[in-house]
């Protein structure tokens, strides 16, 4: 299960830039590491349920009123 989800995230990471550029979408990522890497690490360390939750919380922080920077620590 854990492996499946991690692979899925990896595939997303390869796929998304291709779609994004073709769709003409421009993003401005404010976090390092990227949300997908962050979630991947969280899931492989804490399991699917807790890891996903932490990853989603990180995604929820990704809005114009968050100050940018490294949020590598969980």
């Amino acid at each position: 299960m854990k492996k499946t989800v991690v692979i899925f995230i990896k595939v997303y990471r390869v796929l998304w830039p291709l779609l994004q550029s073709g769709m003409g979408l421009k993003s401005n990522c404010i976090f390092v590491p990227s949300c997908s890497r962050y979630m991947e690490e969280a899931i492989s360390q804490m399991g699917v349920v807790k890891g996903s939750w932490i990853g989603l919380k990180r995604l929820a922080r990704c809005h114009p009123f968050t100050s940018s920077g490294s949020q590598g620590r969980m």
């Binding site: 492996k3 499946t4 692979i7 899925f8 990896k10 595939v11 990471r13 390869v14 796929l15 830039p17 291709l18 994004q20 550029s21 073709g22 769709m23 003409g24 979408l25 421009k26 993003s27 401005n28 990522c29 404010i30 390092v32 995604l59 990704c62 809005h63 114009p64 009123f65 968050t66 100050s67 940018s68 920077g69 490294s70 590598g72 620590r73």
Partner: protein
């Protein structure tokens, strides 16, 4: 790792299949045509027999009409339409439409809106039929100097009900220029001494809607049954069922064509629709009870539109038919995009260049956003070694580490363009463009340069999709190290899958995607160099 590779491939295939399904609706073999007909029940006098018309055909017909008669045909033709009428049910056997010169000059066959080639049931499923087993006789045909063409057909039921059906091309007074409009008038005359009641009388279009050859594969899935209620701005789409006929128009459409009835208000009570796996789609105007008193008559007059679905053209007609054009969920954006595209087409004289220019303009608008993004990514990368060093040094002291990190980032502040929100806001724009380019009749038959002769059709030599795949490959190389071998292998696959997926997309759409990709990659390359 082998297992992972397998998983990755399966998952990506599943994802892409989902994507493919989303953009290119499932197709259905048009071979299995439905067996349908006008199920009109006739109850003579006081509703004694309610048998379906088909089973008791012999009872319905005059003795002389039982002997098989060769069906006759009549062609009505002007500069926009060529309609073939059939004596069986005074129905429409072919409804050819003459499109713009840019399409017809390429030697393409005229598009026939009647799906006759696909229906196995023959005359029963011809559109606009009334009593398909009844042979009508043409009693009058006239072609006036004013451009009006008329054809009047008559038949009589055993009950003594005479049916007179007239088709007209052009306006009565000949003032209206030739168009995709025609008119139909049906008169029921009771020649008997008793009241005659027709139960569940229906008149409509059936057997799906025909289209151009290249669209046949998807036609079944894009055929819609719809109606436009005047006070709102939205069309209502039907599956199968019965609706009250409170509409300006009702009809059937597919990607590029529309057939619509514009009935006089209150004439027929409701709309009956059906579309299923075996039924290519039918829409009827109907009434539960059509009663004609002895010596009396009842007249139904309908205006018919059967032609192309170009938004600009339909809008000019001012009848609300343009609402049949599907611009997707973000319709207002799609209409806006089409307007700008039409404007750019006027300046450049070419829809291909118009698409490229419009795409460039959008990218330019978003350029500051992407530049900022690449700059901060580059800056953050430069800081990474320092962060790692800090993390190592203050491993035990989390509080101190946070302080140090904060001071490192002290110049970073909240950014109104930061985060995923701006990107989410751009998705409707993309979707509006995608739908507009996919569905616009305006692009039909319009060239770009060299080998692209029709932006609404797939690239005949598949050059654009292959270049697009190459661009994706380049983009992946540019984004640098991949890390693990699984990802590297998946990366190799993606451009190939994408290319395969785009092979049959309209070249206008691929051109849009390709322009976006090339610009994105160039900006990425330029920014990475600049901020390295």
């Amino acid at each position: 790792m082998e297992k992972n590779v397998l998983w990755a491939t399966i998952l990506s295939a599943v994802f892409l299949m989902g994507w493919y399904y989303f953009f290119m609706p499932a197709t259905q073999a048009p071979g299995s045509a439905p067996v349908i007909g006008t199920r009109t029940n006739v109850s003579e006098e006081h509703g004694k027999s309610l048998e379906p018309a088909f089973s008791k055909t012999a009872q319905l017909l005059d003795a002389k009409q039982i002997t098989p008669i060769q069906p006759t045909e009549r062609i009505l033709e002007n500069s926009k339409l060529k309609i073939a009428l059939d004596s069986r049910g005074a129905s429409v056997k072919h409804w050819w439409i003459k499109e713009d010169e840019r399409i017809t000059s390429k030697g393409q066959d005229l598009v026939d809106l009647v799906n006759s080639g696909l229906s196995s049931s023959g005359a029963d499923s011809f559109p606009l039929t009334t009593f398909p087993e009844l042979q009508f006789k043409e009693v009058r045909y006239a072609k006036l100097g004013s451009g009006q063409i008329s054809s009047v057909w008559k038949a009589q039921l055993a009950s003594g009900l005479e049916i007179e059906k007239s088709y007209y091309l052009g306006n009565e007074n000949g003032l209206e220029e030739e168009s995709y409009f025609s008119r139909m008038v049906v008169i029921f005359r009771n020649l008997s001494k008793n009241p005659i009641v027709l139960e569940n009388f229906k008149l409509g279009w059936q057997g799906g809607l025909g289209t151009t050859k290249s669209e046949l594969k998807e036609n079944q899935s894009v055929t819609r049954l719809l109606a436009y209620p005047s006070p709102t701005k939205e069309v209502i789409k039907f599956k199968s069922g019965k609706e009250k006929a409170d509409f300006t128009w009702a009809g059937i459409d597919n990607r590029y064509y529309l057939f619509a009835f514009l009935p006089k208000q209150g004439q027929l009570d409701h709309i009956v629709t059906e579309k299923s796996k075996t039924n290519l789609g039918e829409v009827f105007l109907a009434t539960d009870r059509l009663e004609v008193a002895p010596g009396e008559s009842k007249t139904y007059a309908l205006k018919l539109y059967g032609g192309p679905k170009g938004y600009t053209h339909l809008r000019e007609l001012g009848l609300g038919l343009e609402h049949a054009v599907d611009f997707g969920y973000f319709g207002f954006l799609g209409k806006w995009a089409l307007k700008v595209l039409n404007g750019l087409k006027k300046t450049t004289g070419n829809y291909g260049w118009a698409i490229i220019l419009l795409t460039c303009a959008l990218q330019l608008l978003l350029f500051p956003l992407s530049m900022k993004s690449y700059r901060s990514t580059a800056a953050m990368k430069k800081l990474q070694p320092k962060i790692q060093e800090l993390q190592k040094r203050y491993k035990e002291d989390a509080k101190r580490l946070n302080q140090e990190m904060l001071s490192l980032y002290k110049e970073s502040k909240t950014n109104p363009f930061g985060g995923c929100l701006p990107m989410i806001l751009q998705i409707p724009v993309f979707w509006a463009f995608f739908t507009m380019l996919r569905n616009s009749y305006e692009l039909r038959g319009t060239p770009w340069i060299f080998w692209i002769k029709d932006l609404s059709q797939h690239d005949p030599y598949y050059i654009l999709p292959v270049v697009m795949g190459g661009g994706m490959f380049l983009q992946q190389r540019l984004s640098g190290s991949v890390g693990d071998p699984t990802q590297a292998k998946v990366m190799m696959f993606m451009p190939i899958i994408f290319t395969a997926m785009f092979l049959n997309f309209p070249s206008g759409l691929v051109l849009y995607w390709l322009t976006n990709s090339i610009l994105s990659i160039s900006i990425q390359y330029w920014c990475t160099k600049k901020y390295a």
